[in-house]
């Protein structure tokens, strides 16, 4: 028997050895295969910068259904699997087919099984399960293992899972295991269910995963906003970890928002426990917790307004609105002003309004602080005591005399406004409460006398006590010192209108102006310094007689702005500077393209040591392009047709091949050495890297073809190299030695002048050693109610200064030694911008001079920088 089988084996071996084609067949096969290889890779193979064949992918794409059905032969299946390792599009197609199959799978017929076997199996199975569960319980193995930890209930928009460096599209009905990271795109709404029945509603750009535990599931929220309708947890608890606080619940409805500036937990119903640094806080319905002092509370109703169940939540919250108001009041500082009795006296057509605290009463301490600062700084002291400095001091002394004389005369606030009365030209006015008319009049007259002495008898101020009196003088400025009111304006008519409003205890009409409402809302929050401008009125002044073309209207960012508020105040001891543009209508053009505040994952690729970083979160590029195309079509100026012709000429669908491949985030950073050349990087969000890369390669091939026909013939050479499971691309222009490298990593495209910068960026992202986790960066984040930002600019002054000092010192230029003094200033500057449906807010916790100082230093040393860089360059 054994010998027979051995013979059989020998025979089989001989048969195998003998089954191959003859020389001619082999040549034909080899020839066919080579053609296919060229077709798949793009023809010819050697031109790595050429377009990867559309037909290759299209061919594979056609094979996907057969592969899914199991009817594709093995060789083709192997080739397709190989292709899908790199082709997002084909992989997505397969995934969709697999997802679509899941629903009917439940309806498949079940084979008949004998009853005794069935019940016996069930009993045996149960016993095994109990034993296994007990064992796994003691072994601590059970909770973290589940293939269906998360089920996607519904979704609209882009939703994907992150696995390693790959992104995979997610469909409704998909299930995911513990530890799998899911992320929603912009304009995406999705609802997922956990194993315990808890429902998570996901806002756009939310990234999270779920881990199992004996006490219940834990949602790890990397960024974004979720509203959780927690099921009854029995003896366990559902937890949410945000990195800066832990939230635990039993059965309740609550929202957790986590972003750059911290976390905000808002409770709609039930009770929520929040733990941070060992401190526990219990929140009830309507209450809110913020993980950082700089993150202002926001109405709970607003926090959940985006939910599909918002009306239900708002009803719940109405019952606890009193409590909500009490929470808001906590943040108001006693030093701020919460109302202005003077603003109501202004005429209705007031379009510029500025209010400042009574700086006169603070003048003494202000001047003292200035003099102390000068005395402490030898360099400033030297200038202060020079001839010019002494002259300046004499003028300052005069000013002090005037200001000190007015101390205690005025109320808490000065108002400066520009108004129109009955179609007049714009008229300025200054208002303040007068607490001592006699002193006020005496000081103004004394000032008049001093000015008259120096200016040939001209007395600029005419002090009046009744604007309606006969025979009033007509000097440049009328200073009315009324009963408890001081008003100064060149217009007697304006003063009369204010006097009428003051006498009747009514209003001058400003309260009926929409700008007044905007200002009043700012007073509700407390103001210190504030400037409010009615934009259309100012724009009318600036553009009087100029009619905008439709082109200008579309891109004019001010078109939809109703008002602008610029304010500065201290919040929890930190300066808060904000400029708020309120929209009167849905903005168009660049303003509309800015996304609402969303988590910016690109920041994870930037280190805490970055000198400069700036990022923006835009709307979906497809939406932006569609809006532009719609405008171009409406404009009927031929631009739409030109765009269509361009697409035809280059053979590329810009909307679907490029715009649809791109996400909304873009970030630039100087992160690393600044010499010999700055270590810059650009990080772009990408949804479909395969499609984008194909488009890039195609465009390169087009550009190179065009260049061949040109005079210099320089080419753009694209090279590819596998790096850690991904591909590193390098793009070199043969006309210079400039090379740009890029890689696609976890839904982002990272570009840099060196591979090492990209490699480090990936490490920052994977290890969490990133700017967003830097205490300095977090501390510099502007306060305000938005957790995230639509755009931001950040610089670390000390990093840049170190480089400048190094250059200066090595050059031995002592004249720049004052740079050392600048180290005492604020190290980080941060300015953030966020847009909502109704307004655009620019916010910073730093002073403007902090920003300007760095620009000044960089500008001053630009030449030295260049020389230094050339010297270091090998």
């Amino acid at each position: 028997m054994k010998k027979d089988t051995e013979k059989l084996l020998e025979k089989a071996v001989e048969q195998v050895k003998g089954r191959t084609g003859d020389s001619e067949q082999l040549n034909q096969s080899a020839s066919r295969a080579w053609q296919e290889i060229e077709r798949h890779a793009g023809n010819p193979v050697s031109q790595s910068g050429s377009h990867v064949s559309e037909t290759g992918c299209a061919r594979f794409s056609r094979l996907v259904p057969a592969y899914h059905n199991g009817t594709l032969d093995e060789a083709q299946s192997t080739l397709l699997r190989e292709h899908m390792r790199e082709c997002f599009s084909c992989k997505s197609k397969l995934r969709r087919l697999q997802s679509a199959e899941k629903a009917p799978a439940a309806a498949m017929p079940v084979r008949r099984t004998p009853a005794w076997l069935k019940w016996g199996s069930i009993a045996a199975g149960l016993m095994l399960m109990v034993l296994a569960a007990q064992f796994m319980f003691w072994a601590g193995m059970l909770p973290g293992i589940s293939a269906d930890a998360i089920t996607v209930n519904s979704m609209q928009g882009i939703f994907y899972s992150l696995s390693g460096r790959e992104i995979m599209p997610v469909s409704a009905g998909d299930v995911f295991s513990y530890g799998e990271t899911l992320k929603t795109g912009p304009e995406t709404a999705a609802v997922v269910t956990l194993r315990d029945g808890s429902e998570l509603e996901l806002a756009p750009r939310t990234e999270f995963d779920v881990v199992g535990g004996w006490q219940g599931d834990t949602v790890r929220l990397n960024r974004g906003n979720i509203i959780i309708r927690a099921s009854d947890q029995g003896s366990g608890r559902l937890k949410v970890l945000t990195g800066d606080c832990d939230v635990a619940v039993k059965g309740t409805i609550f929202s957790v928002r986590h972003g750059l500036k911290g976390s905000r937990v808002s409770v709609v119903e039930g009770e929520v426990w929040v733990k941070k640094n060992g401190d526990n806080t219990v929140l009830n319905a309507g209450q809110q917790y913020t993980s950082r002092a700089g993150l202002a509370p926001r109405a709970v109703a607003e926090e959940v307004a985006w939910s599909r169940n918002s009306s239900e939540y708002l009803e719940m919250l109405a019952a606890v609105s009193d409590l909500h108001r009490a929470i808001e009041n906590v943040v108001m500082s006693e030093e701020l002003r919460y109302n202005s009795g003077l603003a109501r006296l202004l005429p209705q057509d007031t379009f510029i309004y500025a209010a400042a605290p009574n700086v006169v009463d603070r003048a003494e301490s202000f001047f003292q602080a200035v003099e102390d600062a000068i005395a402490d700084n030898p360099r400033l002291s030297e200038g202060w005591n020079s001839e010019e400095g002494l002259e300046l001091q004499s003028h300052l002394d005069e000013l002090k005399n005037v200001v000190y004389g007015l101390e205690g005369v005025f109320g808490d606030e000065f108002i400066m406004a520009v108004s129109r009365i009955t179609d007049s030209d714009p008229l300025p006015v200054i208002l303040a409460e007068s607490r001592d008319n006699a002193t006020l009049v005496a000081e103004i007259e004394a000032l008049n006398d001093r000015i008259a002495e120096e200016s040939e008898g001209i007395r600029p101020f005419a002090v009046i006590d009744d604007p309606f009196a006969d025979g009033l003088p007509d000097p440049p400025l009328l200073a009315w010192c009324g009963d408890g009111l001081f008003a100064m304006s060149p217009s007697l008519e304006l003063l009369q209108q204010i006097a009428e409003a003051d006498g009747s205890e009514g209003t001058g009409g400003f309260a009926e102006n929409p700008l007044y409402e905007v200002i009043a809302s700012q007073y509700d929050q407390g103001v210190d310094w504030i400037l409010a401008v009615d934009f259309p009125s100012v724009a009318d002044l600036a553009d009087a007689g100029h009619e905008m073309t439709s082109d200008e209207e579309f891109v004019n960012p001010f078109r939809s702005i109703g008002s602008m508020i610029a304010k500065r105040k201290l919040v929890n001891g930190e300066p808060e500077n904000q400029i708020i543009f309120s929209f009167t209508e849905e903005p168009t053009g660049p303003l509309a393209w800015l996304a609402e505040p969303m988590p910016m994952g690109a920041m994870d690729f930037v280190s805490p040591d970055a000198c400069i970083a700036a990022g923006v979160s835009m709307q979906d590029p497809v939406i932006i392009l569609d809006e532009m195309l719609e405008y171009m079509a409406d404009a009927d100026d031929g631009s739409y047709e030109e765009f269509a012709d361009l697409q035809d000429e280059i053979g590329l669908d810009i909307r679907n091949d490029i715009a649809a491949s791109m996400g909304g985030e873009a970030l630039f950073a100087l992160d690393g050495a600044l010499l010999p050349s700055p270590a810059w990087k650009v990080i772009l969000e990408v949804y479909d890297e395969t499609s984008l890369q194909n488009s890039i390669e195609y465009l390169l091939s087009m550009a190179n073809t065009a260049a061949e026909a040109g005079e210099d013939g320089h080419q753009l050479v694209l090279q590819k190299s596998p790096v850690g499971g991904s591909t590193l691309y390098s793009l070199t222009y043969t006309g210079s030695d400039i090379t740009v490298y890029y890689m696609f990593v976890r839904g982002y495209m990272i570009l840099a002048p060196e591979y090492s910068i990209i490699d480090k960026a990936i490490q920052y992202q994977s290890t969490g050693y990133s700017l967003v986790n830097s205490p300095d960066f977090i501390a510099s984040l502007p306060s305000g109610e938005s957790v995230d930002l639509s755009a931001f600019y950040y610089h670390d002054f000390r990093s840049i200064l170190d480089t400048v000092k190094e250059m200066v010192n090595t050059d031995g230029v002592e004249a720049f030694s004052f740079l050392a003094d600048m180290e005492d200033g604020p190290a980080q500057f941060m300015s953030g911008l966020y847009r909502t449906d109704s307004e655009l807010v620019i916010s910073s916790n730093n002073d403007l001079q902090d920003c300007l100082s760095i620009l000044g230093v960089v500008g001053a040393f630009a030449d030295t920088w260049e020389e230094k860089a050339e010297a270091i360059q090998p």
């Binding site: 059989l8 082999l26 066919r32 093995e74 060789a75």
Partner: protein, 186 residues
């Protein structure tokens, strides 16, 4: 520019790839054809191997030898046979289950009767330990010496001898069981 990754060198050029293709494509086709038994499969394997090479670095390409390509062909071919076998077994088992349900018979290896001897051997090879299968093909089917096989696999000739012996024993057992089944179902 600062240091770049060492592997970032020139992309694969058509000349070097074409040279390799000219030298070894027929050998790859022959090997794959023998194991899969199909010219179409062999062509696909040839494509697969060279498409992978296309994505590799030029420095890697220089290291590619005929032996490496032969191993690649053997493994890719066995993968195809292995997957083919799984699908066939699955459909066979489903058919058998259906037959059992209808009381028509009990013959899960029914499908093997349709194979010729060469196919049966390749199917049996695909079920072996991958290393053992590779050794058997290189030695017995491709006709490489012990030393050459050991060199290709990065092992010693003795190991090749032992692995080959185990592979033969295993194959004999498999073929024997199939032979018995075939006898019984005839």
């Amino acid at each position: 520019m600062s240091a770049q990754p060492e592997h970032l060198t020139e992309p694969v050029s058509s000349a070097s790839l074409k040279d390799l293709y000219e030298q070894h494509s027929r050998m790859i086709l022959s090997t794959a054809w023998r194991i899969t038994g199909k010219s179409d499969d062999a062509e696909d394997i040839l494509q697969l191997i060279f498409l992978r090479l296309l994505k590799s670095r030029s420095s890697d390409l220089e290291a590619v030898t005929g032996g490496y390509l032969r191993r690649a062909a053997v493994n890719a071919s066995l993968d195809i046979v292995r997957n083919r076998g799984k699908h066939q077994e699955q459909s066979s088992l489903e058919e058998s289950a259906a037959l059992r349900d209808t009381g028509s018979g009990d013959n899960p290896e029914e499908i093997l009767r349709s194979h010729d001897l060469a196919d049966a051997l390749c199917l049996a090879l695909s079920r072996l330990n991958k290393r053992a299968a590779e050794v058997f093909v290189l030695r017995e089917i491709e006709g490489l010496t012990n030393d050459k096989t050991a060199e290709l696999l990065g092992t010693t000739p003795n190991t090749v001898t032992v692995t080959l012996h185990r592979a033969r024993t295993s194959l004999l057992e498999t073929l024997s069981s199939w032979e018995g089944l075939s006898e019984r179902t005839r």
